[in-house]
Amino acid sequence: MTNGWCDIANTDVVLVMGGNPAENHPVGFRFVMEAKRKRKAKLICVDPRFNRTAAVSDTYVPLRAGTDIAFLGGLIHYAISNDLCHMDYVRVHTNASFLLREDFHFSEGHFSGWDAEKKAYDKTSWQYELDGAGYAKVDETLENPRCVYRAMKDHYSRYTPEKVAEICGCTADEFKKAAAVICSTGRAGRVGTILYALGWTHHSHSVQLIHTAAMLQLLLGNIGLPGGGVNAQRGHANIQGSTDMGAWNMLPGYLRLPRAQWQTFDSYLKATTPKPLRPNAMNYWGNTPKFATSLLKAYYGAAAKKENDFGYAWLPKLGETENQSWGFFFDRMHRKEMHGFISFGMNPVANGPNTEKMLEALANLDWLVVVENFETETAAFWNAKQLGEKFYPRYVDAKSIQTEVILLPAACFAEKDGSFVNSSRWLQWKRAAVPPPGLAKPDHEIIARIFMAVRALYEKEGGAGKEPLMTMQWNYEQPLMPSLEEVAREVNGKDAATGQQVPGFAALKDDGSTSCGNWVYSGSWTEAGNLMARRGQEDPTGLGLFPNYAWSWPANRRILYNRASNDADGKPWDPTHATIRWNGTKWTGDTPDYKADAEPHQYGAFIMLPEGVAKFFTSDLAEGPFPEHYEPMESPVKNALHPNASANPVAPVMKSSADSMGTPDKFPYVAITYRLTEHFHYWTKHVASGSELQSNFFVELPEGLAKEKGIKGGDVVRVSSARGSVEGPALVTPRMQPLKVAGKTVYHVGIPIHWGYVGRVRGPLVNNLTPSVFDPNSGTPEYKGFLVNVEKV
């Protein structure tokens, strides 16, 4: 979230799209209802299903799954063509005025640089025109046809309301009605927010989709303001924190993982530290060397010295363009290229696309360790044929699966302390309340015991790569059970000379005199103590920032980009509703996303970006600088804008023996998978309450489709895709509206997740149906908008 949960109450218009917060984030949704009640805010829900968010919305617009970019692109066109943009904001805070290279263009679904043979882009043309000093050239008048604004205007001129209706399946009137409300926030004094979740990320073009949303919010001047922003509603208690702590391609704090071509620390820093593209860009990522050096000091302690590149060589290096994300490594596992696997509180059999492929992949391992609260489908994968009944006809018996499995009982949230980061980026500290049941152990003890045991083996026997393993600092008071408070202090960072906690990331150095486990968390546990455990009730701005409650990254800032809530001179766009104010000598209010005492004209408002301003146009993403509507990889229709480039040209599609793609002649219906409010993911099927509220797996079917197929509510239906099938009773409802798309009726089939072959209540795993198709930027699978068939059993 750019803003936060409490901040939603400050808005005038809420666009919920690609999410269903009333069901999946009910407590966060209270702020939507508060905005509706107290500010007369309008709630617009755009979704294939009339869900519980739609039930309390002011306007509901149905749309076909996977066509969100068309809808948002339509909104961009609507705002520009109806002169509803907040142009003062656009001029000051965005790259609208930047000039593009002459060789940048777009035609027939492809941007310039497309190599049809390699199926890849050369991004050279996706750049600004630079002056002699390496800065981007600009045209403040926005008259130059090669400026970003004009290019964007041209790009989206194709997205007329009629075109949107043709692609999305709503009517042009429905679209215009919603657009008028959404775009009413394109002026000072009125603000709108966008709430989204996995309905936007589960696509083969998900990052571009969110880019479109950001562009719309920038055009309407809604980024950085209270009640504005683009707000991801994350689905797990610490999914934000685990992201902050790194993944296959990231070190903690969004520092990039080294690649083989960067052999020295210097070359790494040179490649990953951006250079400013405008003279007034603060370019905060220019501090990357300080953050990276401090991280290496936290990792390798005294062994990290300037002479040895602070131990940079010990970190593993990715290949030059290697992708080790989920889809790719499970594909490798399926090809028997992996031997061991450790799953800490995750259930890949249930979570990953194409369940049967997941099962086959795990069966190709030598060993598997699962650390869990409950026995999961992953832990019991070797028994899937028996437990999963008819759904895995090709799968093998337990006897022929040679994977050795060790299942370790772990403590749950109430049995260990530490901090979670919520969607608002608040770090909240919790305390252990009870000991774990039976012999179960807290995860940090488990990980520490394994780590120490592996090191003991290397100590005794030697072996490959001993040095990187032994130098990783593990100097906790109790190495077998590190106290999480001690770890939290390490994460915050220390000054080596004084031994004191650093007050924040501004104090980090690139000379090895500071250590910090994650620079974005620096400031969370200072000499003042554990700020994550704060319970202060003060709200001096009255905007629900609560600066003394818990601690928010970065630097306890509650609203990101808040400098943009002011105009060029530092005056709030809405004086009644200002997050930060310039009082002539410093900024007051929220922690400014700016230098605290820098006068308003000194820097651009978007201090993290090399441009200093927000980007409509970006070369960061794989499929192009402007988002373009692409159909899902499995779609009932061809792309109405460019039928020959129908789906995302650069999205990875796995092609193992277990992967196959369906066509609309055999699989005519569009399927979406989703959560219900009664359950949490694949956990609450183990919990009595969730089991009571929704005991049964079911399939939501539109009335029209049910009638065609002679299906009544409660009849058992089989839903099948090119990958597999699920069976359950049909819930026949008018809430799943048929959509008219390009003259043809398109039905959606709604499939709630939550069940599996282990649990108090059981049912099929819906990922039996989903394809191994991924977004090229984020690696998320396409769970919304794939093709299925439905038949009565």
Binding site: C6, N238, M245, V369, L407, C412, A433, P435, G438, G465
Partner: protein
């Protein structure tokens, strides 16, 4: 920064939701009623482990000072001090007790031998020893110190690791050290899905 919420504060906070809204004292309106089941509990502040709204909860436990007994959770309720949830919770959160105190919870390490159709019990020491051995064998075979071009890469891609989305930052940080110590590249969390 007082983490310890005592019972009176908690009860007051609970009542405050209405009392401050209407300036109306509930106590005046009460009559002899059933005994309050959380009247004598110990209270520990925590955070809901489900979605990322980040609701604060108060875990009511009993049995801390009882000899020869393990403390157990008797009730979990929203924390009125949290600006996010102000004491409220959703249907999953309000039944967190059912999650913690649950006969389906795993209570001992289990082992499934290659080709076996059943779990068998295994001690922690044996389990850790086995895991360490498997990791070492896999790593010894799969660790790449230098790639084909002779560049130092110190990497391991035959061993994968996932998790962390419901573990604390601190545990995620330790998982990171574990991973980078071993050189593991296939490393993912729920955020990808």
């Amino acid at each position: 920064m007082n983490l310890q919420v005592n019972r009176r504060q908690f009860l007051q906070a609970g009542a405050a939701v209405t009392a401050t809204a209407f300036g109306f004292r509930l106590e005046a309106a009460t009559a002899a009623a059933r005994e309050l089941k959380i009247a004598r509990t110990n209270q520990v502040p925590s955070v809901c482990p489900y979605c990322a709204v980040g609701c604060s909860v108060v875990i009511h436990t009993s049995g801390e000072r009882v000899r020869n007994a393990r403390p157990t959770v008797v009730h979990i309720e929203g924390d009125a001090d949290s600006p996010i949830n102000r004491g409220t919770l959703c249907s999953k959160g309000i039944s967190l007790k059912e999650f913690v105190v649950n006969d389906r919870r795993l209570t001992k390490p289990r082992y499934r031998a290659p080709g076996a159709s059943e779990w068998t019990d295994i001690s922690w020491d044996q389990a850790i020893e086995k895991i360490a051995r498997r990791i070492k064998d896999t790593r010894d075979k799969g660790f790449v110190e230098k790639d084909a071009q002779g560049r130092t890469v110190n990497r391991l891609d035959t061993l994968g690791m996932i998790g962390g989305c419901t573990d604390t930052n601190e545990i995620n940080y330790l998982l990171g050290k574990f991973r980078f110590g071993l050189g593991i590249l296939p490393y993912e969390n729920q955020a990808r899905l």
